[in-house]
Each structure stands twice: as C-alpha cells, then as structure tokens.
Symmetry: C2
Subunit: 260 residues, 2 copies
C-alpha cells in the first residue's frame, strides 16, 4: 500500500477462486485511504472474476472495521487479536465456508498399574470446594501420556452463546507416575482406586458420570473397546486421524502397518 | 441508554460474575457517547466486583468497534451479523472461555434394504465433474432418516484458518426411499450397490475412503459396532448426548430404558 491515491491492496489467491488480504502494515492507516484502496481493489478483483474476498484485520487496525463493513464486507470470525471479514463478489449464491461451531474438550482417563486413576480437585468451576475428585479435563500437558483410545464422547447443543460443546473421554497411558499439577487450576491431585472414584455419590447419582465410570471400569476389565486412531490423509493430502472401533476393524490397523 | 451524558449501559449478569451488554438500539450511536457510557459503566461494574464484560455489537453498529477496542476490549468471536467483544476487569488472570475451535461435518451412510447406498455427485468442490459417486456430506435434511450409529470420525488440525475440522461418518436409517436432492449443491443422486461404491478407483486408491468403505461394509455384515447415543444431562442439567460402543456397553442403554 502506497502514499495514497488509487493504490491496490496486496492480496494472495486462495484455492477457491478468492483472495485474502492480510493487513500487516505496522503504522496506522487512515480510513479514507483504506476505503479508496478497497474500492479500487474490489473493482479490480471483480474484473478478474474473483469470488470471495477475505480481509484479516489485526485488532490494532480496529479503526478500519467500519470502513470495510460500509464497503459491503461482513464478519466471518474473530480471534482475540484479529477480525476476519469477508465479501462475496459474484451474483451467484455464496459458498463461503461456515465458521467453527464447536468447542472441544477432553477428559483424561489415566490409570496406573494398580487400578488407580488420576483424579483432581479444581480451584474453580462447578465442583470447587465440594471435595469431589474428578477426572482431569481440558489440557493434560502436565503429565506425560500416550493416547490409547477414545472411550466415549458427548455433545451438547448451543451450550455457549451459539456454539456447541463436544467432550471426549480419552484413555491415556501414563509414561511417568509423578504428578506435576498446574497450581493455577488444580487444588489437589492424586492416584485413587477406580472403584473408590466410581463409588463417590456425585458419580452414582448422576447418570452421565455413572455411565462414564462404568465404561472406564469395563475398559479396565477388558470388556469394552473404544475408538483407536490411525494417521492417514484427506483427499487433499492433509494429515488426518481416523477414529474407529479398534477391535472390530483391527484389519485396518494391520493393513496400514504392513504397508509402512 | 439515554440522551447522552453519564448514562450507564444496560447489562445482564451472567453466571460467572460477569455482565453482558447487548447493544440492541436501532438508531445509530455516536462513538463519543458510546465511549463515555462505556467508561462510566466499566467504572461502575468494577466497583461492583464484576469480572468479564461482554459486548455483543450488531454489525450495523460497526462504527463502535474501534471505540470498544480503545476502551480496552478485545475480540472474542464474530458471526456474520455481530461481533462479540470482551474485557476482563480484575487483576487476576482471566478465565474467559475459549472461542469455538472446530468445524464439524457429517457424512451420511444411508443404506436401503437391497444393500444399496445413497450416493451423490456435487455441483462444486473437489470432485466436481469427476463422475465420482460419494456419500452425502454436510446437511442431510433432504431425506428423512433416523440416527443409527456413528461409525467413525476423523479430525484434522488447523485445516481452515486456525480452526480444526471434525467429520463424523454416521449411519442413518432411511424412513423414506424417495430421494429429494438439493438442486443447488447436488447434481445427481441415486441408490448404488455398496460393493459398486467401494470398488470405485478413487475409493480403492485412497486410504481414508477405502477404510471408511470397509467399515461401512463390515457394519452391514454385522461385524462392526460404532457409537450409539443416549440422551442424558450434564451436571448443570443441560441435555447432552453420550456416544459409546453400543455393543460393549449395551447395559447402559438397558439400565436407562428400565428407568424410563
């Protein structure tokens, strides 16, 4: 972007016939300049037959949001440090992909060799001060583990503004038995016999917790198979993990290992 | 919000010690007025010991985004018609929940009584014009079905800007065998013998598609169990579906049905 006048915004082409403008300029930009660059650029992209125009606008250029909206852009998504705006040039219906719709959390079923389960008490949240021991949830960076299986998952619709929640109960194999807990979020943590965990009244009295405890117990007793994963690629060549019943489709893992 | 001066913004309390301002005013708001209301309101909420302040700002008030950012707000998330901004008042570390991180799609494995699978060709996307018949993906509003199981799912990290993709292959039981396809997205649709679907070279040559086809075939032959679901509630009483290996944990469904 230059000294003003009818300059064009620098854009990169995306794979879907559109362009992405990443406003990386450090200095403040005058809305009037931005407006004229934007109009000239849209006219140019339109002549080139471009479809979607994306503007990634860092929050420090928040003075340009209104300008982009007045030029016909709408919001697509935002992260703490930037806003993504989008404009669909053609007259045909837009094929702009949807924004993320789900928050994803995990619960970690981590068990040692003595049928003891890693449990925690948290500094905040619903169970604060109740004395209830629960499965660690959220991030489990603080203990070294290896993924075993996803045992179960749950989905709740529109649990947070318009977004949905998914929560995966994952069995993880500890690579170390020393617990280093995150002081800011965890009050206490320990290894607890799994039967003792399952016998807690909050677990017994609540279907969801009781079901999950029963699944964990069944798994430990060799009577339950969860979902294993296998690294493969999508049709566009990106890495992706496929999760499936590892018992019933053990042939998939075998055939993959034979190729490797 | 009043005629100007030191008015306070109307806010509702949330469950986490914070407040939510929903700017529902129809008329344009002057940034200078908004700025003084915001400052007075923050000072007031601060005295009340409030924590997170949320502003839901409709896109028609995009002229106020810059004002909110200058007052210390950051972006949280955005939808086409509004931007959600947030400000953390206390000096303690913020506990503002994360934005949605995943886009979730589904692929529908719909089979009739003749081992024929519902397949489509799409008007756009990667397989446009290739003649490849694929499982319907995205929304499946157009055929009446009943959920049977999730057979498998895959996760790709950061596949779309900073967001991750999850894709669930779901087995659905058709309640009608008439196909009404969505003309804007589907070029053609039909019932195809599942062996014929699986024999297509794009399925055979690509691990992911071949694995999924093998899982569908195994399911049809009674040799594979996916994830069944059970409606239950979270600890805060919200409806949630728990998905689990329906064969190995069939006792969960039984015990639930006995209660009902």
């Amino acid at each position: 972007m230059g000294e003003g006048g009818i300059e064009l915004l620098k854009a990169e082409e995306d794979k879907h016939g559109g362009v992405v403008v990443n406003v990386e300029v450090e200095d403040p930009i005058e809305p009037l300049n931005f407006s004229s660059w934007l109009q000239a650029s849209i006219s140019n992209w339109s002549q080139q037959g471009k479809k979607g125009v994306w503007i990634k606008l860092p929050i420090k250029h928040s003075n340009l949001v209104d300008t982009a909206v007045k030029a016909g852009f709408r919001y697509h998504h935002a992260e703490p440090d930037h806003l993504m705006l989008v404009y669909w040039i053609p007259h045909s219906p837009d094929t702009i992909p949807q924004n993320a719709s789900h928050r994803v959390g995990i619960g970690a079923f981590v068990i040692n060799n003595n049928r003891e389960m890693l449990v925690v008490q948290e500094t905040g949240g619903r169970f604060k001060g109740t004395g209830i021991w629960k499965m660690p949830t959220g991030t489990v960076n603080e203990i070294e583990t290896e993924f075993v299986e996803i045992l179960a998952f749950r989905q709740s619709h529109k649990s947070f503004f318009q977004k949905s929640d998914m929560f995966f109960v994952s069995m993880l194999r500890p690579l170390s038995f020393d617990i280093h807990s995150q002081a800011s979020e965890i009050v206490a943590s320990k290894w607890m016999p799994i039967e003792e965990y399952a016998a807690q009244s909050f677990v017994q009295e609540h279907d969801l917790f009781r079901f999950i405890a029963e699944i964990c117990l069944s798994k430990l007793d060799g009577k339950y198979t969860g979902f294993s994963n296998l690294l493969t690629t999508t049709s566009s060549g990106k890495n992706t993990y496929l999760y499936f019943n590892g018992h019933d489709a053990s042939n998939l893992v075998d055939s993959k290992n034979q190729q490797a």
